[in-house]
Symmetry: C2
Subunit: 314 residues, 2 copies
């Protein structure tokens, strides 16, 4: 296979064989890719499972991100869901739809990105499917385990709200790319390959987190799910919300309110959780607000007048 070989020339089985060779195995993988199903060991009596679907020109653009970066991000957004339950992912499957005239190397680079992101948490690519599709489609399912799964409906009045990871950085990158800029680099790279704080999820569970989600649609939107599911009000303290330097730079260049990027920017896959009052926050977690009786999410006691996060059918 050379750099010009297309997916159609390599064929479905050829492509699957190349990807399978990348996948490796070991750990809890008892049967890896290549059979009707993979077989993975479980130690806690149950598994966590989450699925995401990424579509070309909706979730990624080939002119903004390399195939490797698309693979990293596709894996990251699912591995992050397992972390957001307080768990660690063990296994990942990928359903890949690609045009027949796509260079096979593009598909392999995507698979390499998936495998590398998996390695960062000790997970394995255990199976998948490849088929022809006009737009590139990447369907990822992550499976893992948690000693104590943390749901989104357990926040109680009096709890502390805290986060780990980046807020607004990927959103700033997206805003910059949308307007034709390729910098600041840290922001643009965060949009291309987010850096979820995977270890912070199990650490929060161990520290007694009462509710947790990852921030995929924006801090306000995702905390809104916690508030609704838990039937509580959440208030954020703007003085406690960090504005990273690249976020401030993008906000200034584009005439945006920096806090808008922090509060509504998606795709950073930060973790946000609630902890009992007085609980010692694990390293990497920062207090940003509090839970009270009531409903909805406010900033300094007021509704935030801004975009309410990403809408898929807007």
């Amino acid at each position: 296979m050379d750099a010009q070989t297309t997916v159609q020339q390599l064929g479905e089985f050829g492509l699957v064989a190349e990807v399978t060779a990348l996948a490796g195995g070991g750990g809890k993988v008892l049967i890896g890719p290549g059979d009707d199903a993979a077989h993975v060991a479980v130690r806690t009596g149950g598994y966590l499972v989450s699925t995401d679907l990424l579509i070309e020109d909706r979730h990624f653009r080939r002119d903004w991100s390399s195939a490797y970066e698309v693979g990293r991000k596709a894996a990251a957004c699912n591995l992050s869901d397992i972390a957001a339950m307080g768990g660690v992912a063990d296994a990942l499957t990928v359903g890949l739809g690609v045009p027949g005239d796509l260079p096979a190397q593009w598909a392999l680079d995507l698979a390499r990105g998936v495998v590398d992101e998996c390695k960062s948490v000790g997970a394995h690519l255990v199976g998948g499917d490849v088929t022809a599709s006009e737009a590139i489609v990447v369907a990822v399912t992550a499976i893992g385990e948690a000693t104590r799964p943390v749901r989104r409906d357990g926040a109680r009045p009096g709890d502390v709200v805290a986060f780990a990871g980046n807020l607004g950085l990927a959103g700033a990158g997206f805003a910059a790319l949308s307007r034709g800029f390729r910098s600041p680099r840290a922001a643009v790279e965060s949009h291309r390959v987010p850096a979820p704080p995977y270890a912070a999820g199990p650490q929060a569970a161990l520290a007694g987190a009462t509710a947790m989600v990852d921030v995929s649609d924006g801090l306000l939107a995702d905390l809104g799910h916690v508030a609704t599911a838990s039937e509580v009000a959440i208030d954020l303290d703007p003085a406690l919300l960090p504005v990273a330097e690249p976020v401030a730079t993008v906000a200034e260049a584009l005439g945006l309110e920096p806090l808008t990027l922090v509060l509504t920017g998606g795709d950073d896959y930060a973790l946000v959780a609630t902890f009992p009052e007085g609980a010692e926050l694990p390293s990497g977690w920062t207090r940003i607000g509090a839970v009270a009786e009531g409903a909805g999410v406010t900033v300094a006691g007021e509704p935030w007048e801004g975009s309410p996060g990403h809408r898929h059918f807007a």
Copy 2:
């Protein structure tokens, strides 16, 4: 919501809420849809997982199949993979990409089809993702358990080859639909909604099956995977291969060799397995051939001169 409501009008969260209401729960489902990940109990120390990606106009056509039928089939082809490992599926996730102007009822009918097919094996829809896509995309992941997973690489010379389910029926339906016919009904309905012999998988495992796969691409093609993985030769006895009456009807009407449909027709999701010589075949299993030293799949000792199964990038 009325019949004219589009996916875009209902919105991503509205659609997810409607689908979640269909999903139900119970059984081994500890946390169902609606959180970052679902949580499902495991009793055997491990899980089986399989993924398939179905794309509109490649794997289904809206003018040939109803949304409900597409949902049934999308679930069936994954649940069948778990059966082909000798297992029973417990949980299923669906990633659904749909155009914003699609009637929301279409998406809900698909979800209803998925849920109904899951019920036939006692599995639950535990999670998913909905996003905008030009072509309809259905990504399904099934997870289950097996007491003794049966791989495809365990066939040994001297083993008996047997199958359970339908052979050629869905292929005959596809051939009929492709030429503008809507009958024979049994064949066309098998193409729209296959009837995998789910229970035959665990029964074969219990009876000592040495290798097993489901027939998605065609009997010869899928047995070819067993022969290659097991490093054996497989010979089928044409006198033992049943030609169902609708298969014979379609073959005659279209001037095809009936055995070609039986040997190369895909999408029936029959199970084919190898058993030790002298093993008692479970009810529903029919002997069709034998395993020998060597390589490849033959019919009455000769290579079959026909189409080698479905190619995704052909």
